[in-house]
Protein backbone atom coordinates (compact mmCIF):
# COMPACT_ATOMS: atom_id res chain seq x y z
CA UNK A 1 0.00 0.00 0.00
CA UNK A 2 2.69 2.38 1.12
CA UNK A 3 4.76 1.69 -2.01
CA UNK A 4 2.27 3.29 -4.36
CA UNK A 5 2.51 6.55 -2.39
CA UNK A 6 6.30 6.85 -2.74
CA UNK A 7 6.40 9.49 -5.53
CA UNK A 8 4.20 11.89 -3.61
CA UNK A 9 5.97 11.16 -0.33
CA UNK A 10 9.38 12.14 -1.74
CA UNK A 11 8.17 15.52 -2.97
CA UNK A 12 5.95 16.21 0.05
CA UNK A 13 8.75 15.42 2.50
CA UNK A 14 10.86 18.17 0.94
CA UNK A 15 7.90 20.56 0.78
CA UNK A 16 7.20 19.89 4.44
CA UNK A 17 10.81 20.49 5.44
CA UNK A 18 10.86 23.70 3.40
CA UNK A 19 8.32 24.92 5.98
CA UNK A 20 9.73 23.18 9.08
CA UNK A 21 13.27 24.49 8.52
CA UNK A 22 12.41 28.22 8.72
CA UNK A 23 9.76 27.58 11.41
CA UNK A 24 12.36 26.21 13.81
CA UNK A 25 15.38 27.90 12.26
CA UNK A 26 14.05 31.39 12.91
CA UNK A 27 13.88 30.62 16.64
CA UNK A 28 17.40 29.21 16.79
CA UNK A 29 19.41 29.16 13.61
CA UNK A 30 21.46 26.16 14.74
CA UNK A 31 18.41 23.97 14.14
CA UNK A 32 18.26 24.82 10.45
CA UNK A 33 21.12 22.68 9.13
CA UNK A 34 20.29 19.45 11.04
CA UNK A 35 16.65 19.75 9.98
CA UNK A 36 17.64 20.19 6.34
CA UNK A 37 19.89 17.12 6.63
CA UNK A 38 16.99 15.15 8.08
CA UNK A 39 14.76 16.33 5.23
CA UNK A 40 17.19 15.23 2.55
CA UNK A 41 17.85 12.01 4.49
CA UNK A 42 14.17 11.07 4.67
CA UNK A 43 13.75 11.90 0.99
CA UNK A 44 16.71 9.67 0.06
CA UNK A 45 15.31 6.90 2.26
CA UNK A 46 11.99 7.07 0.41
CA UNK A 47 13.85 7.12 -2.92
CA UNK A 48 15.81 4.03 -1.90
CA UNK A 49 12.63 2.21 -0.87
CA UNK A 50 11.05 3.30 -4.13
CA UNK A 51 13.95 2.03 -6.22
CA UNK A 52 14.01 -1.34 -4.42
CA UNK A 53 10.27 -1.59 -4.90
CA UNK A 54 10.69 -0.77 -8.59
CA UNK A 55 13.35 -3.46 -8.92
CA UNK A 56 11.07 -6.03 -7.28
CA UNK A 57 7.89 -5.24 -9.15
CA UNK A 58 9.36 -3.81 -12.35
CA UNK A 59 6.31 -1.61 -12.78
CA UNK A 60 6.19 2.15 -13.06
CA UNK A 61 3.95 3.93 -10.57
CA UNK A 62 1.53 6.50 -11.99
CA UNK A 63 0.38 8.60 -9.07
CA UNK A 64 -2.67 10.76 -9.87
CA UNK A 65 -3.20 13.65 -7.49
CA UNK A 66 -6.57 13.99 -5.84
CA UNK A 67 -7.94 10.95 -7.64
CA UNK A 68 -8.26 12.90 -10.92
CA UNK A 69 -7.07 10.54 -13.57
CA UNK A 70 -5.11 11.49 -16.66
CA UNK A 71 -5.67 13.50 -18.88
CA UNK A 72 -7.83 15.65 -16.62
CA UNK A 73 -5.59 15.51 -13.57
CA UNK A 74 -1.91 15.88 -12.91
CA UNK A 75 0.19 12.82 -12.25
CA UNK A 76 3.61 11.86 -10.97
CA UNK A 77 5.32 9.26 -13.12
CA UNK A 78 7.75 7.09 -11.18
CA UNK A 79 9.45 4.85 -13.70
CA UNK A 80 12.98 3.46 -13.81
CA UNK A 81 14.84 6.58 -14.93
CA UNK A 82 12.91 8.75 -12.45
CA UNK A 83 13.68 6.33 -9.61
CA UNK A 84 17.37 6.37 -10.56
CA UNK A 85 17.65 10.17 -10.76
CA UNK A 86 15.67 10.81 -7.58
CA UNK A 87 17.93 8.50 -5.61
CA UNK A 88 21.10 10.07 -7.05
CA UNK A 89 20.13 13.69 -6.41
CA UNK A 90 18.67 13.14 -2.96
CA UNK A 91 21.57 11.13 -1.62
CA UNK A 92 24.20 13.52 -3.02
CA UNK A 93 22.26 16.43 -1.52
CA UNK A 94 22.14 14.60 1.80
CA UNK A 95 25.95 14.35 1.98
CA UNK A 96 26.50 17.91 0.78
CA UNK A 97 24.08 19.28 3.37
CA UNK A 98 25.98 17.46 6.15
CA UNK A 99 29.18 18.99 4.80
CA UNK A 100 27.76 22.51 4.76
CA UNK A 101 27.68 22.74 8.59
CA UNK A 102 30.96 24.63 9.07
CA UNK A 103 32.11 25.51 5.60
CA UNK A 104 30.01 28.56 4.84
CA UNK A 105 29.94 29.96 8.38
CA UNK A 106 31.25 33.36 7.30
CA UNK A 107 28.74 33.88 4.50
CA UNK A 108 25.72 32.41 6.22
CA UNK A 109 25.76 33.55 9.85
CA UNK A 110 22.37 35.05 10.75
CA UNK A 111 20.77 33.81 7.53
CA UNK A 112 20.87 30.07 8.02
CA UNK A 113 17.12 29.57 8.34
CA UNK A 114 16.47 31.23 4.99
CA UNK A 115 19.42 29.49 3.36
CA UNK A 116 18.40 25.97 4.32
CA UNK A 117 14.75 26.68 3.51
CA UNK A 118 15.95 27.62 0.02
CA UNK A 119 17.97 24.41 -0.29
CA UNK A 120 14.87 22.40 0.58
CA UNK A 121 12.79 24.35 -1.97
CA UNK A 122 15.43 23.77 -4.62
CA UNK A 123 15.48 20.05 -3.90
CA UNK A 124 11.67 20.05 -4.09
CA UNK A 125 11.92 21.65 -7.52
CA UNK A 126 14.53 19.14 -8.74
CA UNK A 127 12.57 16.15 -7.45
CA UNK A 128 9.41 17.56 -8.97
CA UNK A 129 11.06 17.90 -12.37
CA UNK A 130 12.18 14.30 -12.24
CA UNK A 131 8.92 12.87 -10.95
CA UNK A 132 6.27 14.80 -12.81
CA UNK A 133 4.43 13.30 -15.74
CA UNK A 134 2.99 16.59 -16.91
CA UNK A 135 4.76 19.12 -19.10
CA UNK A 136 3.37 22.25 -17.51
CA UNK A 137 4.00 21.04 -13.97
CA UNK A 138 7.54 20.38 -15.15
CA UNK A 139 7.81 24.06 -16.10
CA UNK A 140 6.54 25.14 -12.68
CA UNK A 141 9.02 22.90 -10.86
CA UNK A 142 11.76 24.10 -13.20
CA UNK A 143 11.07 27.67 -12.16
CA UNK A 144 10.82 26.76 -8.46
CA UNK A 145 14.23 25.13 -8.55
CA UNK A 146 15.71 27.93 -10.66
CA UNK A 147 14.38 30.67 -8.38
CA UNK A 148 15.79 28.92 -5.33
CA UNK A 149 19.14 28.39 -7.04
CA UNK A 150 19.38 32.07 -8.06
CA UNK A 151 19.08 32.85 -4.38
CA UNK A 152 21.63 30.24 -3.33
CA UNK A 153 24.16 31.28 -5.96
CA UNK A 154 23.84 34.97 -5.05
CA UNK A 155 25.38 34.33 -1.60
CA UNK A 156 29.15 34.51 -1.57
CA UNK A 157 31.95 36.71 -2.87
CA UNK A 158 31.47 40.29 -3.98
CA UNK A 159 30.50 39.59 -7.64
CA UNK A 160 28.13 36.72 -6.70
CA UNK A 161 24.86 38.71 -7.08
CA UNK A 162 25.90 39.86 -10.54
CA UNK A 163 26.73 36.35 -11.76
CA UNK A 164 23.46 35.11 -10.25
CA UNK A 165 21.63 37.92 -12.05
CA UNK A 166 23.13 36.86 -15.36
CA UNK A 167 22.02 33.31 -14.65
CA UNK A 168 18.54 34.66 -13.85
CA UNK A 169 18.26 36.45 -17.19
CA UNK A 170 19.45 33.55 -19.32
CA UNK A 171 17.65 30.94 -17.21
CA UNK A 172 14.36 32.79 -17.47
CA UNK A 173 14.68 33.09 -21.24
CA UNK A 174 15.31 29.34 -21.35
CA UNK A 175 12.28 28.63 -19.18
CA UNK A 176 10.10 30.93 -21.31
CA UNK A 177 11.18 29.22 -24.53
CA UNK A 178 10.30 25.88 -22.99
CA UNK A 179 6.87 27.26 -22.02
CA UNK A 180 6.32 28.50 -25.58
CA UNK A 181 7.24 25.03 -26.86
CA UNK A 182 4.62 23.42 -24.62
CA UNK A 183 2.12 25.95 -25.99
CA UNK A 184 2.81 24.76 -29.53
CA UNK A 185 2.35 21.15 -28.50
CA UNK A 186 -0.84 21.94 -26.62
CA UNK A 187 -2.38 23.59 -29.67
CA UNK A 188 -1.87 20.47 -31.77
CA UNK A 189 -2.54 17.72 -29.21
CA UNK A 190 -4.82 19.27 -26.58
CA UNK A 191 -3.09 17.52 -23.70
CA UNK A 192 -0.16 18.21 -21.42
CA UNK A 193 0.44 14.71 -20.06
CA UNK A 194 3.66 13.16 -21.33
CA UNK A 195 2.36 9.61 -21.84
CA UNK A 196 -0.93 10.83 -23.34
CA UNK A 197 0.87 13.19 -25.69
CA UNK A 198 3.48 10.66 -26.78
CA UNK A 199 0.58 8.47 -27.93
CA UNK A 200 -0.76 11.24 -30.18
CA UNK A 201 2.46 12.62 -31.61
CA UNK A 202 3.10 9.83 -34.16
CA UNK A 203 0.04 11.04 -36.07
CA UNK A 204 1.47 14.56 -36.22
CA UNK A 205 4.73 13.58 -37.86
CA UNK A 206 4.77 16.28 -40.50
CA UNK A 207 3.33 19.10 -38.44
CA UNK A 208 5.51 22.21 -38.38
CA UNK A 209 4.26 23.12 -34.92
CA UNK A 210 5.75 19.92 -33.54
CA UNK A 211 9.12 20.76 -35.07
CA UNK A 212 8.96 24.29 -33.65
CA UNK A 213 8.11 22.85 -30.25
CA UNK A 214 11.06 20.44 -30.40
CA UNK A 215 13.51 23.23 -31.15
CA UNK A 216 12.09 25.61 -28.54
CA UNK A 217 11.98 22.98 -25.80
CA UNK A 218 15.43 21.57 -26.53
CA UNK A 219 17.02 25.04 -26.60
CA UNK A 220 15.18 26.10 -23.46
CA UNK A 221 16.26 23.04 -21.51
CA UNK A 222 19.81 23.13 -22.88
CA UNK A 223 20.21 26.52 -21.18
CA UNK A 224 19.49 24.86 -17.83
CA UNK A 225 21.80 21.97 -18.70
CA UNK A 226 24.57 24.45 -19.68
CA UNK A 227 25.17 22.77 -23.02
CA UNK A 228 28.01 24.41 -24.92
CA UNK A 229 26.78 27.66 -26.51
CA UNK A 230 24.39 28.25 -23.61
CA UNK A 231 26.93 27.65 -20.84
CA UNK A 232 27.95 31.31 -20.30
CA UNK A 233 26.27 31.68 -16.94
CA UNK A 234 27.88 28.65 -15.32
CA UNK A 235 31.57 29.36 -14.62
CA UNK A 236 31.09 32.70 -12.87
CA UNK A 237 28.01 31.60 -10.97
CA UNK A 238 29.80 28.53 -9.58
CA UNK A 239 33.04 30.35 -8.82
CA UNK A 240 31.73 33.31 -6.87
CA UNK A 241 29.00 31.65 -4.82
CA UNK A 242 29.64 30.28 -1.37
CA UNK A 243 31.22 26.83 -1.17
CA UNK A 244 28.23 24.91 0.16
CA UNK A 245 25.94 26.34 -2.56
CA UNK A 246 28.34 25.33 -5.29
CA UNK A 247 28.84 21.88 -3.83
CA UNK A 248 25.06 21.45 -3.75
CA UNK A 249 24.13 22.88 -7.16
CA UNK A 250 27.11 21.83 -9.29
CA UNK A 251 26.58 18.06 -8.98
CA UNK A 252 22.79 18.21 -9.33
CA UNK A 253 21.62 21.28 -11.24
CA UNK A 254 22.87 20.62 -14.75
CA UNK A 255 22.02 16.89 -14.51
CA UNK A 256 18.38 17.81 -14.09
CA UNK A 257 18.55 19.70 -17.37
CA UNK A 258 20.09 16.63 -18.98
CA UNK A 259 17.34 14.46 -17.47
CA UNK A 260 14.66 16.70 -18.97
CA UNK A 261 16.32 16.39 -22.38
CA UNK A 262 16.30 12.60 -22.02
CA UNK A 263 12.66 12.65 -20.99
CA UNK A 264 11.67 14.86 -23.92
CA UNK A 265 13.73 13.18 -26.60
CA UNK A 266 13.18 9.51 -25.72
CA UNK A 267 9.89 9.38 -23.81
CA UNK A 268 7.88 12.26 -25.24
CA UNK A 269 8.77 12.58 -28.91
CA UNK A 270 10.77 9.50 -29.68
CA UNK A 271 13.82 9.56 -31.90
CA UNK A 272 11.89 9.29 -35.18
CA UNK A 273 9.93 12.49 -34.66
CA UNK A 274 12.84 14.44 -33.18
CA UNK A 275 15.01 13.67 -36.19
CA UNK A 276 12.28 13.92 -38.83
CA UNK A 277 12.87 17.52 -39.97
CA UNK A 278 16.47 17.99 -38.96
CA UNK A 279 19.12 15.84 -37.27
CA UNK A 280 18.46 17.34 -33.84
CA UNK A 281 20.16 14.68 -31.74
CA UNK A 282 23.25 14.63 -33.93
CA UNK A 283 23.50 18.43 -33.64
CA UNK A 284 23.23 18.09 -29.88
CA UNK A 285 26.05 15.57 -30.03
CA UNK A 286 28.26 17.92 -32.04
CA UNK A 287 27.58 20.75 -29.59
CA UNK A 288 28.42 18.35 -26.77
CA UNK A 289 31.74 17.51 -28.49
CA UNK A 290 32.64 21.19 -28.81
CA UNK A 291 31.58 21.71 -25.21
CA UNK A 292 33.74 18.83 -23.98
CA UNK A 293 36.88 20.17 -25.70
CA UNK A 294 36.14 23.83 -24.92
CA UNK A 295 35.43 23.11 -21.24
CA UNK A 296 38.60 21.05 -20.85
CA UNK A 297 40.81 23.64 -22.55
CA UNK A 298 39.33 26.50 -20.54
CA UNK A 299 39.81 24.42 -17.38
CA UNK A 300 43.51 24.06 -18.18
CA UNK A 301 43.76 27.84 -18.60
CA UNK A 302 42.34 28.59 -15.13
CA UNK A 303 44.48 29.28 -12.09
CA UNK A 304 41.56 29.32 -9.68
CA UNK A 305 40.68 25.82 -8.46
CA UNK A 306 36.94 26.44 -8.20
CA UNK A 307 36.72 28.06 -11.62
CA UNK A 308 38.65 25.15 -13.10
CA UNK A 309 36.10 22.74 -11.64
CA UNK A 310 33.27 24.90 -13.02
CA UNK A 311 34.70 24.71 -16.54
CA UNK A 312 35.20 21.02 -16.04
CA UNK A 313 31.45 20.82 -15.32
CA UNK A 314 30.75 22.38 -18.74
CA UNK A 315 32.90 19.67 -20.25
CA UNK A 316 31.36 16.80 -18.27
CA UNK A 317 27.76 17.68 -19.14
CA UNK A 318 28.90 17.15 -22.72
CA UNK A 319 29.47 13.44 -22.04
CA UNK A 320 25.90 13.03 -20.84
CA UNK A 321 24.44 14.80 -23.88
CA UNK A 322 26.77 12.77 -26.09
CA UNK A 323 25.25 9.62 -24.65
CA UNK A 324 21.83 10.97 -25.58
CA UNK A 325 23.03 11.76 -29.08
CA UNK A 326 24.38 8.24 -29.62
CA UNK A 327 20.87 6.90 -29.00
CA UNK A 328 21.91 3.30 -28.52
CA UNK A 329 21.83 1.22 -25.32
CA UNK A 330 25.56 1.60 -24.66
CA UNK A 331 25.47 5.36 -25.05
CA UNK A 332 22.40 5.52 -22.82
CA UNK A 333 24.09 3.39 -20.17
CA UNK A 334 27.24 5.53 -20.35
CA UNK A 335 25.26 8.74 -20.03
CA UNK A 336 23.23 7.62 -17.03
CA UNK A 337 26.24 6.08 -15.35
CA UNK A 338 28.05 9.36 -15.94
CA UNK A 339 25.20 11.24 -14.26
CA UNK A 340 25.80 9.16 -11.15
CA UNK A 341 29.59 9.29 -11.35
CA UNK A 342 29.83 12.95 -12.12
CA UNK A 343 27.43 13.88 -9.32
CA UNK A 344 29.57 12.01 -6.83
CA UNK A 345 32.93 13.17 -8.26
CA UNK A 346 31.98 16.82 -8.60
CA UNK A 347 30.42 16.90 -5.15
CA UNK A 348 33.65 15.50 -3.66
CA UNK A 349 35.87 17.88 -5.65
CA UNK A 350 33.84 20.97 -4.79
CA UNK A 351 33.80 19.87 -1.15
CA UNK A 352 37.60 19.73 -1.12
CA UNK A 353 37.89 23.09 -2.88
CA UNK A 354 35.40 24.66 -0.46
CA UNK A 355 37.29 23.35 2.53
CA UNK A 356 40.61 24.64 1.19
CA UNK A 357 38.97 28.02 0.60
CA UNK A 358 37.72 28.12 4.15
CA UNK A 359 41.08 27.14 5.66
CA UNK A 360 43.54 28.92 3.37
CA UNK A 361 41.33 31.84 2.37
CA UNK A 362 41.96 31.16 -1.32
CA UNK A 363 42.00 28.31 -3.78
CA UNK A 364 44.62 29.53 -6.22
CA UNK A 365 46.39 26.57 -7.82
CA UNK A 366 49.68 28.49 -8.10
CA UNK A 367 49.98 28.50 -4.30
CA UNK A 368 49.38 24.78 -3.84
CA UNK A 369 52.38 22.85 -2.53
CA UNK A 370 53.18 19.75 -0.58
CA UNK A 371 52.38 21.35 2.76
CA UNK A 372 48.77 20.70 1.79
CA UNK A 373 49.48 17.00 1.79
CA UNK A 374 50.84 17.26 5.30
CA UNK A 375 48.12 19.54 6.59
CA UNK A 376 45.10 17.81 5.05
CA UNK A 377 46.20 14.22 4.40
CA UNK A 378 42.70 12.75 4.20
CA UNK A 379 41.12 15.55 2.21
CA UNK A 380 43.96 15.32 -0.32
CA UNK A 381 43.59 11.54 -0.49
CA UNK A 382 39.88 11.96 -1.28
CA UNK A 383 40.71 14.68 -3.78
CA UNK A 384 43.14 12.32 -5.47
CA UNK A 385 40.54 9.58 -5.71
CA UNK A 386 37.98 11.95 -7.24
CA UNK A 387 40.52 13.54 -9.58
CA UNK A 388 41.77 10.19 -10.87
CA UNK A 389 38.18 9.14 -11.37
CA UNK A 390 37.50 12.33 -13.36
CA UNK A 391 40.45 11.48 -15.58
CA UNK A 392 39.08 7.99 -15.94
CA UNK A 393 41.50 5.43 -14.57
CA UNK A 394 40.08 1.99 -13.74
CA UNK A 395 38.78 0.72 -11.36
CA UNK A 396 37.32 4.09 -10.39
CA UNK A 397 33.85 4.98 -11.53
CA UNK A 398 34.81 7.63 -14.09
CA UNK A 399 36.51 5.06 -16.29
CA UNK A 400 33.41 2.98 -16.81
CA UNK A 401 31.08 5.73 -17.98
CA UNK A 402 33.66 6.81 -20.55
CA UNK A 403 34.12 3.16 -21.50
CA UNK A 404 30.44 2.67 -22.21
CA UNK A 405 30.27 5.95 -24.13
CA UNK A 406 33.24 4.82 -26.20
CA UNK A 407 31.52 1.45 -26.78
CA UNK A 408 28.43 3.32 -27.93
CA UNK A 409 30.46 5.43 -30.36
CA UNK A 410 32.15 2.36 -31.80
CA UNK A 411 28.77 0.69 -32.07
CA UNK A 412 27.50 3.62 -34.15
CA UNK A 413 30.80 3.82 -36.09
CA UNK A 414 30.97 7.40 -34.86
CA UNK A 415 34.73 7.96 -34.88
CA UNK A 416 34.43 11.69 -34.21
CA UNK A 417 32.84 11.12 -30.81
CA UNK A 418 35.40 8.46 -29.96
CA UNK A 419 38.26 10.84 -30.77
CA UNK A 420 36.69 13.54 -28.61
CA UNK A 421 36.30 11.16 -25.65
CA UNK A 422 39.93 10.08 -25.86
CA UNK A 423 41.28 13.60 -26.39
CA UNK A 424 39.31 15.01 -23.50
CA UNK A 425 40.61 12.25 -21.24
CA UNK A 426 44.12 13.51 -21.99
CA UNK A 427 43.07 17.10 -21.34
CA UNK A 428 41.43 16.06 -18.05
CA UNK A 429 44.66 14.40 -17.07
CA UNK A 430 46.54 17.64 -17.77
CA UNK A 431 44.50 19.78 -15.48
CA UNK A 432 44.13 17.33 -12.63
CA UNK A 433 47.68 15.96 -12.58
CA UNK A 434 48.97 19.54 -12.51
CA UNK A 435 47.35 19.91 -9.09
CA UNK A 436 48.33 16.45 -7.90
CA UNK A 437 51.92 17.18 -8.89
CA UNK A 438 51.91 20.38 -6.82
CA UNK A 439 50.24 18.79 -3.84
CA UNK A 440 52.44 15.68 -3.68
CA UNK A 441 55.77 16.67 -5.21
CA UNK A 442 56.28 20.42 -5.01
CA UNK A 443 58.44 21.29 -2.04
CA UNK A 444 58.27 25.00 -1.18
CA UNK A 445 61.71 24.86 0.53
CA UNK A 446 63.48 23.99 -2.70
CA UNK A 447 65.44 26.67 -4.47
CA UNK A 448 64.09 28.04 -7.70
CA UNK A 449 60.58 28.13 -6.35
CA UNK A 450 58.58 31.14 -7.46
CA UNK A 451 56.79 31.32 -4.13
CA UNK A 452 59.95 31.67 -2.07
CA UNK A 453 58.38 33.88 0.57
CA UNK A 454 56.23 31.10 1.96
CA UNK A 455 59.24 28.80 2.27
CA UNK A 456 59.28 28.86 6.06
CA UNK A 457 55.99 27.35 7.06
CA UNK A 458 54.63 25.45 9.97
CA UNK A 459 53.13 22.12 8.98
CA UNK A 460 50.56 21.33 11.59
CA UNK A 461 48.05 18.65 10.96
CA UNK A 462 44.74 20.31 10.35
CA UNK A 463 41.92 19.16 12.66
CA UNK A 464 39.41 18.54 9.87
CA UNK A 465 35.91 18.48 11.36
CA UNK A 466 34.03 15.22 11.01
CA UNK A 467 31.17 16.99 9.23
CA UNK A 468 33.57 17.73 6.37
CA UNK A 469 35.68 14.59 6.45
CA UNK A 470 32.99 11.92 6.61
CA UNK A 471 30.73 13.04 3.70
CA UNK A 472 33.72 13.70 1.45
CA UNK A 473 35.17 10.34 2.43
CA UNK A 474 31.94 8.48 1.78
CA UNK A 475 31.58 10.07 -1.66
CA UNK A 476 35.22 9.37 -2.56
CA UNK A 477 35.07 5.74 -1.40
CA UNK A 478 31.70 5.55 -3.13
CA UNK A 479 33.49 6.14 -6.42
CA UNK A 480 35.49 2.98 -5.85
CA UNK A 481 32.34 1.07 -4.93
CA UNK A 482 30.45 2.35 -7.99
CA UNK A 483 33.41 1.44 -10.16
CA UNK A 484 33.54 -2.11 -8.85
CA UNK A 485 29.78 -2.67 -8.97
CA UNK A 486 29.26 -0.91 -12.29
CA UNK A 487 28.07 -4.13 -13.95
CA UNK A 488 25.02 -4.23 -11.67
CA UNK A 489 24.19 -0.56 -12.23
CA UNK A 490 24.63 -0.82 -15.98
CA UNK A 491 22.45 -3.94 -16.00
CA UNK A 492 19.72 -1.92 -14.33
CA UNK A 493 20.17 1.02 -16.74
CA UNK A 494 20.02 -1.23 -19.80
CA UNK A 495 16.79 -2.63 -18.38
CA UNK A 496 15.13 0.78 -18.32
CA UNK A 497 16.57 1.94 -21.65
CA UNK A 498 13.81 2.97 -24.07
CA UNK A 499 15.22 0.95 -26.98
CA UNK A 500 13.09 -2.19 -26.71
Amino acid sequence: MMESQIPALIALTLALFAIIVPAFGLKNENYAQPLAVIGAGVASLFSLVGLINFLNSGEAIRYSFGGWTVPVGVEFLYDGIAAFFVLVINSVAFFVLIYSLHVSEKDLSGRKAAYYALTMLMMLGFNGIVLTGDLFTLFVFLEISSLASYGLLAIGDKPAPYSAYRYLIIGTIGGSLYLLGIGFLYTVTGTLNIIDMSGMLPQLFENNAVFGAIILMVVGIAVKAALFPMHGWLPDAYTFSTSSSTALIAPIGTKIGAYTLFRIVFWLFGLDIVNFFAPVTYTLGLLACIGILYGSIMAIAQTEFKKMLAYSSVSQIGYIIMGLSLANPWGFAGALLHVLNHSVMKAALFMVSGYLRMKEGHSDIRHFNDTYRKKYPWMMAFFTLAAISMVGLPPLAGFFSKWYLALGSVNNSNWLFLTVILTSTLLNAVYFFRILERVYMKNPDQAGDTNGEIAVQEYTLDPTPASVLIPTGILAIGLLVIGLTNAIIVGFILNIAPFG
Partner: protein, 126 residues
Amino acid sequence: MKKKMIDFILGHYAYWFTIIIMCIGLYGILFKRNLIKKTIGLTIFQSSIVLFYVSIASKWDATVTVLDENIPIENVSNYLNPLPHTLMLTAIVVGVAILGASYALLINIYNRYGTLDEQELLDKIS
Protein backbone atom coordinates in the same frame (compact mmCIF):
# COMPACT_ATOMS: atom_id res chain seq x y z
CA MET B 1 -0.74 34.10 -54.48
CA LYS B 2 -0.75 37.67 -53.20
CA LYS B 3 -4.19 37.24 -51.69
CA LYS B 4 -3.09 34.07 -50.00
CA MET B 5 -0.18 35.94 -48.49
CA ILE B 6 -2.41 38.69 -47.16
CA ASP B 7 -4.81 36.13 -45.75
CA PHE B 8 -1.93 34.41 -44.04
CA ILE B 9 -0.80 37.65 -42.45
CA LEU B 10 -4.27 38.84 -41.43
CA GLY B 11 -5.40 35.40 -40.30
CA HIS B 12 -2.55 35.13 -37.85
CA TYR B 13 -2.38 38.74 -36.68
CA ALA B 14 -2.46 37.78 -32.98
CA TYR B 15 0.70 35.73 -33.49
CA TRP B 16 2.44 38.59 -35.29
CA PHE B 17 1.82 40.82 -32.29
CA THR B 18 3.20 38.10 -30.04
CA ILE B 19 6.34 37.90 -32.14
CA ILE B 20 6.75 41.68 -32.19
CA ILE B 21 6.39 41.92 -28.41
CA MET B 22 8.85 39.06 -27.99
CA CYS B 23 11.37 40.85 -30.20
CA ILE B 24 10.96 44.08 -28.22
CA GLY B 25 11.65 42.12 -25.04
CA LEU B 26 14.69 40.41 -26.53
CA TYR B 27 16.01 43.76 -27.76
CA GLY B 28 15.74 45.12 -24.23
CA ILE B 29 17.54 42.11 -22.75
CA LEU B 30 20.35 42.11 -25.31
CA PHE B 31 21.10 45.75 -26.01
CA LYS B 32 20.14 47.80 -22.95
CA ARG B 33 23.07 48.50 -20.65
CA ASN B 34 21.07 49.36 -17.56
CA LEU B 35 20.15 46.24 -15.60
CA ILE B 36 16.72 47.61 -14.61
CA LYS B 37 15.92 48.05 -18.30
CA LYS B 38 17.12 44.52 -18.94
CA THR B 39 14.72 43.27 -16.28
CA ILE B 40 11.89 45.23 -17.90
CA GLY B 41 12.80 43.60 -21.21
CA LEU B 42 12.63 40.20 -19.52
CA THR B 43 9.13 40.96 -18.25
CA ILE B 44 8.00 42.03 -21.74
CA PHE B 45 9.45 38.81 -23.13
CA GLN B 46 7.47 36.73 -20.63
CA SER B 47 4.28 38.69 -21.30
CA SER B 48 4.49 37.82 -24.98
CA ILE B 49 4.27 34.13 -24.07
CA VAL B 50 1.31 34.78 -21.78
CA LEU B 51 -0.40 36.60 -24.67
CA PHE B 52 0.33 33.67 -26.97
CA TYR B 53 -1.44 31.25 -24.62
CA VAL B 54 -4.38 33.60 -24.17
CA SER B 55 -4.78 34.05 -27.92
CA ILE B 56 -4.70 30.34 -28.75
CA ALA B 57 -7.65 29.70 -26.43
CA SER B 58 -9.83 32.62 -27.44
CA LYS B 59 -13.07 31.95 -29.37
CA TRP B 60 -15.77 34.21 -30.82
CA ASP B 61 -19.34 33.71 -29.59
CA ALA B 62 -18.33 31.28 -26.89
CA THR B 63 -19.23 31.22 -23.23
CA VAL B 64 -17.64 30.03 -19.99
CA THR B 65 -17.26 26.32 -19.33
CA VAL B 66 -20.46 25.92 -17.35
CA LEU B 67 -23.18 23.79 -18.90
CA ASP B 68 -25.87 26.03 -20.33
CA GLU B 69 -29.33 24.49 -21.01
CA ASN B 70 -29.67 26.44 -24.25
CA ILE B 71 -26.39 25.18 -25.64
CA PRO B 72 -26.13 21.40 -25.98
CA ILE B 73 -22.92 19.85 -24.73
CA GLU B 74 -22.05 18.67 -28.25
CA ASN B 75 -21.55 22.29 -29.37
CA VAL B 76 -17.96 22.44 -28.21
CA SER B 77 -17.31 25.55 -30.30
CA ASN B 78 -19.65 27.49 -28.00
CA TYR B 79 -17.62 26.71 -24.92
CA LEU B 80 -14.22 28.18 -24.13
CA ASN B 81 -11.30 25.97 -23.18
CA PRO B 82 -10.29 27.47 -19.84
CA LEU B 83 -7.09 25.47 -19.42
CA PRO B 84 -4.60 27.74 -21.24
CA HIS B 85 -5.90 30.76 -19.34
CA THR B 86 -5.56 29.04 -15.99
CA LEU B 87 -2.09 27.85 -16.90
CA MET B 88 -1.17 31.45 -17.55
CA LEU B 89 -2.27 32.47 -14.05
CA THR B 90 0.49 30.19 -12.79
CA ALA B 91 2.95 31.50 -15.37
CA ILE B 92 2.18 35.10 -14.35
CA VAL B 93 2.83 34.22 -10.71
CA VAL B 94 6.13 32.63 -11.72
CA GLY B 95 6.98 35.80 -13.65
CA VAL B 96 6.24 37.99 -10.64
CA ALA B 97 8.44 35.81 -8.45
CA ILE B 98 11.27 36.10 -10.96
CA LEU B 99 10.82 39.87 -11.05
CA GLY B 100 11.01 40.00 -7.26
CA ALA B 101 14.14 37.84 -7.17
CA SER B 102 15.82 39.93 -9.86
CA TYR B 103 15.10 43.22 -8.04
CA ALA B 104 16.48 41.70 -4.83
CA LEU B 105 19.66 40.82 -6.72
CA LEU B 106 19.81 44.30 -8.28
CA ILE B 107 19.57 45.96 -4.86
CA ASN B 108 22.46 43.78 -3.73
CA ILE B 109 24.50 44.64 -6.81
CA TYR B 110 23.85 48.36 -6.33
CA ASN B 111 24.85 48.22 -2.66
CA ARG B 112 28.11 46.47 -3.52
CA TYR B 113 29.17 48.36 -6.63
CA GLY B 114 27.18 51.62 -6.60
CA THR B 115 26.12 51.23 -10.24
CA LEU B 116 23.69 49.29 -12.36
CA ASP B 117 25.37 49.99 -15.69
CA GLU B 118 26.54 46.71 -17.16
CA GLN B 119 29.74 48.04 -18.72
CA GLU B 120 30.82 49.79 -15.51
CA LEU B 121 30.02 46.64 -13.55
CA LEU B 122 32.13 44.47 -15.84
CA ASP B 123 35.01 46.95 -15.54
CA LYS B 124 34.76 46.91 -11.75
CA ILE B 125 34.56 43.13 -11.48
CA SER B 126 37.48 42.27 -13.69
